[in-house]
Symmetry: none
Subunit: 481 residues, 2 copies
């Protein structure tokens, strides 16, 4: 592709900014909430909307791929095994254009489903009536991920228009509709039909910039193990008046176990847990230190607690990006209604997860955790430790041509060096691409830290929408040069 | 009353056993769960059922007395005063028959409300479909306290029938509908209208026999404070991927607090908590030692855990009757569904109660507890410690004519000497009777240790239901002799 073509594509995108935003609004009006059965038709409508546009701009082999999940056996909160029947999922949208001979193939990933909008009363304007205010577009899904996915589509349209129906690289597009409900459908598809997504690199725009005006690539994600500890004491629920002082209490036991899992400074006490933790490189640490990050501002505006917690001696960024953590999410069992019920429950459960960092592995970490919990099980109590799900931690190398092309492209747009950050959460599909397709992922996202992801008043900064399109145009152009 | 009348009353009860049980079943079918707002109509229905029967058997002045709680001022964790508005309670059922001139007046107390039936799936037959199996009647409230309260009503009916509409003693009946939610309504009524319950002795049948065939009077009860600790961290629920390692976790905090409330041997760690604990008398300790009690059998058949817990150096009977204890009943908040949700909840609650023994007082014990919890509140967390309800511990004298009449009556029925025990639970009204009405209480109960009080498959041994009626008939006859 010639530089002229790139300039033409950027010009096309610039000239069509208003239309691109109007199209995005139309997509945002579709309440494609994947977790709510009453929106199943809306979710499909969003898939069809995306497919139609991919077809219109000249992509080929555009189709919806139906997904389904296998029958599953799960243990419920009461410890009973339940069968989750196989069920139809939300469709994947697939498209490709594979005529750039000798050029690399990019797999563009995004998702068209959104989180539920509750609590509705906290939205300033309705979640599915996209509204522009102060240079932002407010709507559920604005940044996560409809707006960012639409950048891919619009970058492809601009390149097609400038290239006379041709792209500078080969492209496959896969857009899922279950990201907010676990992404089982696409995971199964990648596992079973990986050859249909054959590519050299994946492009994911579902992350954020570290700060406005600061081009950012996400190059690491924490892994996780999500577990349940079930503590059983008496055979049946007992009255605390009659048996208090003799019968073991599973909640007290779980409290004693949890208090031994993590000390009051936030250090995890599981023997061997930190053995494989790899320190970020000096270059990374230096880069993170250079980032403008005000812990007090973060505490006040993002967390809202009276103090932050976590391991002493590590910055918030290190603690949330590069250190393993342990959290308790809920403790089902016993009496949870209003008022007083004096029961010593026969059993109680703690839902405990740990975030993992390279080079920890879910299998080893879970074994260490399980053995430790069993070893500290209080008197009179039997524990069962269950793994609910697991995901690998990921660090992508910054030393490859794709990352170099991405940073160069963003430098042209923002006039600044790209910062490399990590994310504290997991984007499981990135692990699937690495494991199943053996390809690296470029996580080039254009959200902002205050975009209210998963919360009321989600927004996308429109300048970033347009800069994102230009960055992707230039990224593709460089890969095809 | 003549011996002939007593024999006739006992005969009447015997002849009508089947009807008595059918009536009890009708009462047990009413799900009068006082703690659940959706059952407020059922609770009233149960009150009306009891009132109608008292009227039918010839009791006088039968009426429902509405209860309400006063406006209350409480101090929250931040030291701010909050107003708890006055609210309507569940009604008291009152009846009397006061024409036995020169004879003592007995105040019969019982309650028609029941505990919630959860967990429903553990009931072999539904909790509100009373079912007979192996000589027992299974239903929520079978023994606590509908079945035992019904013994009073049926003893009165039998005496009325035998005496031609006359009772051998004066009787007042007061049946409450809030025993399982703290009994505030009756406590206020006793405090404010004590003269309307003027009596010489109270009869309470809400306790159990030490062993089958062993007539038992309960002469001591533990008191209690039932509390909630609410722990608040972040302003809203947060994602554990993005914020794990920086945001405080209220469940972890509660676990740390609970682990410091009680050590692994069961010793409560609240400063000053044991200061007022009075040792049982040597005579009591000697009598308890003489009781046939096999801790291993108790562990195996009643508790069913792999080991018993509690303070070393005290027998199970001492630990459950004469030592304070601390239990956790439930920990609402966060995610309790099946599967994985990676939320760091903004807040979580622990429902914690303590059993008290003479001479501890609820007010002082709660203050010690609250101050201690606040002092050990983990970093980043704010706690609010709330008192849900409280009751005094009591010990009643065994040296009075009412206790002698009761033991003699039971000797006639069971052919055995009565044993004097304490109960680990609380019956707050006994303290109110002692303090406000200045009368002793005879706690003559006919439950059995394995009756599953407050648990699934609650039952009442039908032989004890009938022997209870006969015992009460003979007790009244002796008091009126």
């Amino acid at each position: 592709m010639t530089t002229n073509n790139t300039t033409a594509a950027v010009g096309f995108a610039e000239k069509n900014q208003a239309r691109f935003v109007e199209e995005l609004k139309a997509l945002l009006r579709i309440p494609s909430v994947s977790t709510l059965p009453e929106h199943v038709g809306d979710v499909r409508r969003a898939a069809e909307f995306v497919a139609a546009e991919l077809k219109r701009i000249g992509m080929e082999n555009v189709r919806l791929i139906e997904t389904s999940t296998d029958e599953e056996m799960i243990a419920d909160a009461a410890g009973q095994t339940r069968v989750v029947p196989p069920r139809l999922g939300h469709p994947l949208v697939y498209a490709d254009w594979l005529h750039a001979e000798g050029k690399p193939t990019v797999l563009c990933y995004g998702h068209y489903d959104v989180q539920p909008p509750d609590p509705l009363e906290e939205w300033k304007t309705p979640p599915f009536e996209p509204t522009e205010r102060d240079g932002n577009i407010y709507a559920r899904g604005a940044v996560d991920d409809k707006g960012q996915m639409w950048m891919h589509v619009k970058a492809l349209e601009s390149l097609m228009a400038a290239g006379g129906g041709k792209l500078p690289v080969n492209v496959r597009v896969i857009v899922e509709g279950e990201e907010e409900v676990g992404g089982e459908g696409i995971a199964a598809f990648v596992r079973e039909h990986g050859e249909k997504l054959k590519a050299d690199v994946a492009l994911v725009s579902d992350t954020e910039m570290f700060a406005p005006e600061l081009p950012t690539l996400c190059v690491g994600l924490r892994g996780m193990i999500y577990t349940e500890i079930e503590a059983r004491g008496a055979r049946t629920d007992l009255h605390s008046g009659m048996y208090g002082g003799a019968a073991p209490n599973p909640f007290v036991a779980l409290a004693q176990v949890i208090a031994k899992l993590k000390d009051e400074d936030g250090k995890i006490l599981i023997p061997g847990f930190y053995d494989k933790v790899e320190k970020p490189t000096d270059a990374e640490l230096k880069a993170w230190k250079a980032l403008s990050f005000d812990e007090e501002h973060y505490r006040e505006t993002e967390v809202g607690s009276i103090a932050l917690t976590g391991e002493p001696g590590y910055s918030v960024l290190e603690r949330t990006w590069a250190r393993p953590t342990l959290d308790v999410h809920g403790m089902p069992g016993g009496f949870t209604g209003a008022g007083a019920k004096t029961v010593i429950p026969a059993k109680a459960v703690a839902k405990v997860s740990m975030r993992l960092v390279p080079d920890m592995t879910p299998a080893e970490s879970f074994m260490q955790y399980k053995a430790y919990v069993e070893s500290i099980c209080p008197k009179g109590i039997e524990v069962e430790v269950r793994l609910i799900h697991a995901g690998d931690a990921i660090v992508v190398s910054t030393d490859n041509e794709y990352v170099r092309a991405a940073t160069a492209a963003m430098h042209e747009v923002f006039g600044k060096e790209t910062v490399f950050v990590r994310g504290g959460g997991s984007i499981p599909i990135v692990g699937d691409f690495e494991r199943e397709l053996k390809i690296p992922t470029v996580m080039m996202g254009f959200g902002l830290p205050d975009d209210n992801l998963h919360a009321p008043n989600e927004k996308f900064h429109l300048a970033n929408f347009h800069r994102g399109i230009e960055s992707i145009v230039r990224f593709f152009a460089r890969l095809g040069a």
